[in-house]
Symmetry: C2
Amino acid sequence: MPPAPLRRRYSAATKRALLDVAAAQFAEHGYAGTSLDVVVAGAQVTKGALYHHFAGKQALFEDVFARVEEDAAARIRAAMTSAGDPWDQARSALRAFLDVVREPAYRRVVLQDGPAVLGHERFREQEERTSRALVHEVTERVLVASAEVVDPAMVDTFSRILYGAVSAAGEQVASAADPTAETLRVECALGVVLDGLRQQATAGLRLTDPVAAP
Amino acid sequence: MPPAPLRRRYSAATKRALLDVAAAQFAEHGYAGTSLDVVVAGAQVTKGALYHHFAGKQALFEDVFARVEEDAAARIRAAMTSAGDPWDQARSALRAFLDVVREPAYRRVVLQDGPAVLGHERFREQEERTSRALVHEVTERVLVASAEVVDPAMVDTFSRILYGAVSAAGEQVASAADPTAETLRVECALGVVLDGLRQQATAGLRLTDPVAAP
DNA sequence: AGTCGGACATACTCACGGTACGTACTTTCA
DNA sequence: TGAAAGTACGTACCGTGAGTATGTCCGACT
């Protein structure tokens, strides 16, 4: 059965087809539950094509991972631009994230399989360029607007902790029986935390690096 | 009462040997990187023994996972009993957790491979009985000591968020170039968050469920 | 003393990731 | 313009490793 000559000419199309099918498979069945035979069959090609475009299963997953993360970050960023006040920006970003984290694809690829497949090292590298960068950005604006003294190292530490808190909040919302109700609770709880920071801000908080400080 | 059946004792020994070897392998090479052939060879038995004691690779991992988590929770709990004030308890528990999370075994088995292998569902079930229960306990004591009104549903939401924050903090410490220095920053950052809560507590915080509230 | 069942051992299957090699089509260049 | 080089796959195959089917030994109970 001679394959359609049309497909041969556009290799970018086959690569995208592979990525599309792989993304759907990884999202639905997870990394371990996805067979490359199924992927290539779904993309109407063979393993030769797959291994021509990707170094292996892990590399394929990494590309899918990056696409999912970038897409999510873009949407959160879009939902954030409107507000002017850093606190409002943080709040709208949180809301957008709580929406994103409810999608099965993001949960499966990024939160569930991501760390195990990529390893902590590569996982963090990937995050650094997308969602973590976003959280870092928002955190920095909030902290600068709140504290009198803000050390860059502390911004990093703070943003990572907040990122963990927000991720857990997202997981909580996503797995709740009533996600809408849980969203309210989560926003309330995080609101209390943020209010706590805000109160300290008005009291003249100084966020210095305890290591560098004399 | 006649002495313990000899048969059973030998059987228990082989099972423990399998668990020991498996724990070491999973901790060092991860779930996917661990071969059952290596495990049974290390335990001086064959696959027949393994599949007699465990339903499969995943079940074996789950037992290892439970052991690692229970061990960690026990150590944290032990480090916590001394202090009397809920805030101090929370602080010492945090410190103990930051130690635990720096161990490769815990990082690999629980944080990295856990969610992917067990799935979110079973992962949460396992957590519920150990570390999460601990965090929930501490959170409840702190909140009850702080707020005038505390809704149980909010305690759950709060503890999950705090758990995520602490986990991220642990990850941050574990992967830092200078873990000791990063520990100081993390404790400082989390201290600020806790102080924020404490200030609101003295101001008469009421932590009601926004869903149930009229 | 039989025999029943738990605790393994042995040998095998099969799915799946990865590789080696061949081939058609395209581009390059003398 | 025609041959050489390179691209973009297809085909056939291998090794590994999880899981299974079946046999067997031996302590325990009747």
